[in-house]
């Protein structure tokens, strides 16, 4: 991580000094993370790819206005999250759209949390992933963002607070609430019996 940070700082500085070629390096260093964030937030590949595209176009356009190169990662994640929000709004996105036929249908309000107990067969990765996605979809946006940034992007608590532009205590609170809701949602979905 420290290596990426040093390389990113250097690439951003070079870009700010007029070396546009260094943008290629920035993309190479960060596109997987942006893709991962978008994919976890949106739940489908096509939307995630579009968000990557739009995010780096926005970055290319406005990177010259970034005052502190060290703040690039949190700035980048904020841009990506904004594009995710825009995409969700414009498409009236359904989070668990591509669920397997064996998974019970449920409405968005309850975020797929049927009261009917659903016990996944064994540890089928696909089914488990789908249940996790549904459980995440049941969270409010702030809680979901906090959980995804922390669990899947590996941000520290302080970085989480920076990206979410809130005090550290608020970031922790969102994460705490998010994890509690996840646990509750998963229990209701019946994953308990297949718990690791």
């Amino acid at each position: 991580m420290a290596f990426i940070k040093a390389e990113t700082d250097e690439a951003v500085r070079r870009f700010l000094n007029g070396e546009e070629e260094s943008f290629d390096l920035i993309v190479r260093l960060w596109e997987r993370k942006v893709y991962s964030l978008a994919w976890r937030m949106l739940g489908n590949k096509e939307d995630a790819q579009d968000v990557v595209q739009e995010t780096f176009l926005s970055v290319f356009k406005s990177l010259r206005r970034l005052r502190d190169p060290a703040s690039f990662p949190s700035w980048l994640y904020r841009i990506a999250l904004n594009h995710c929000r825009a995409r969700q709004k414009s498409r009236a996105f359904e989070f668990a759209r591509k669920r397997p036929a064996s998974v019970p249908q449920a409405n968005d309000e309850a975020a797929g949390l049927s009261e009917t107990a659903f016990v996944p067969s064994g540890a089928a990765a696909l089914e488990n992933a789908d249940i996790i996605r549904k459980a995440l979809a049941g969270l409010g946006e702030d809680h979901r963002t906090a959980v995804i940034l922390k669990e899947y992007l590996g941000l520290s608590l302080e970085e989480l607070a920076q990206v979410m532009e809130c005090p550290l205590s608020t970031a922790k609170s969102r994460l705490y609430q998010g994890l509690r809701e996840i646990h509750r949602n998963l229990e209701r979905l019946g994953i308990k019996s297949a718990a690791p």
Binding site: E20, E21, F23, D24, V27, E31, R32, Y35, S36, W39, R40, K45, A48, Q49, V52, Q53, F56, L57, F60, K61, A125, N128, A129, I132, R133, A135, L136, V147, K150, E151, Y152, S156, L157, K172, L175, Y176, L179, R180, I182, H183, L186, I191, A195, P196
Partner: protein, 186 residues
């Protein structure tokens, strides 16, 4: 450590990010004697384990982002398109405010605009000039059909109006110090 203090630090504990080993030791000590907090920590850790069941999606081998050159090429188009749209909207707004009238008829294309022009109120009278023109028209149209009496009456009215107009014009010129010749003609 009390339960509320544990709750305040529970995220640092679960993620092991506090940087304060003493605090973690205190929490661990508290958990040994408090089933409620122990259950809370268990749920959070279990939620984290569940979340890891959703594996990372492989990143497309070909990459997603187009080259920087493509991005650089794309922006000027966006910029100009955006400026063009803004200019068009501003022009439309200006034309709307200016009460623009565009007409295409047998006389050809006419365009008129007046910024903040007052709407002409519906009138229920003719000006002297309009009345004069109407009378002249009527005299021309009905010259052969009307009786001598009517014709003379209309002619009289026309003369009266003409005289009024001239008087008005003279008054206007005199009040503004305008130039009239000795005969009073303009």
């Amino acid at each position: 450590m009390r339960c509320d203090e544990v709750k305040e630090n529970i995220i640092d504990f679960v993620y092991d990010e506090s940087g304060d080993p003493a605090a973690h030791a205190e929490i661990r000590e508290h958990l040994r004697t408090c089933p409620a907090c122990r259950e809370e920590v268990r749920k959070l850790k279990q939620a984290r384990e569940y979340l890891q069941l959703w594996k990372e999606e492989p990143y497309p081998a070909t990459g997603v982002f187009r080259s920087r050159k493509a991005a650089a090429r794309r922006f000027p188009e966006w910029r100009y398109l955006r400026y063009g749209a803004i200019a068009a909207m501003a022009l439309i707004a200006l034309l709307a405010v200016a009460n623009t009238q565009i007409r295409w008829d047998e006389n050809g294309f006419t365009f008129s605009a007046g910024l903040f022009r007052e709407q002409e109120a519906d009138r229920d009278y003719y000006t002297k000039s309009e009345l004069r023109n109407l009378l002249i028209q009527a005299l021309d149209d009905s010259e052969l059909r009307m009786s001598e009496t009517n014709y003379m009456m209309m002619q009289k009215m026309l003369d009266t109006i003409e005289r009024d107009r001239w008087m008005d014009l003279r008054l206007v010129c005199e009040s503004s110090g305008g130039n009239t010749n000795k005969n009073g003609s303009f």
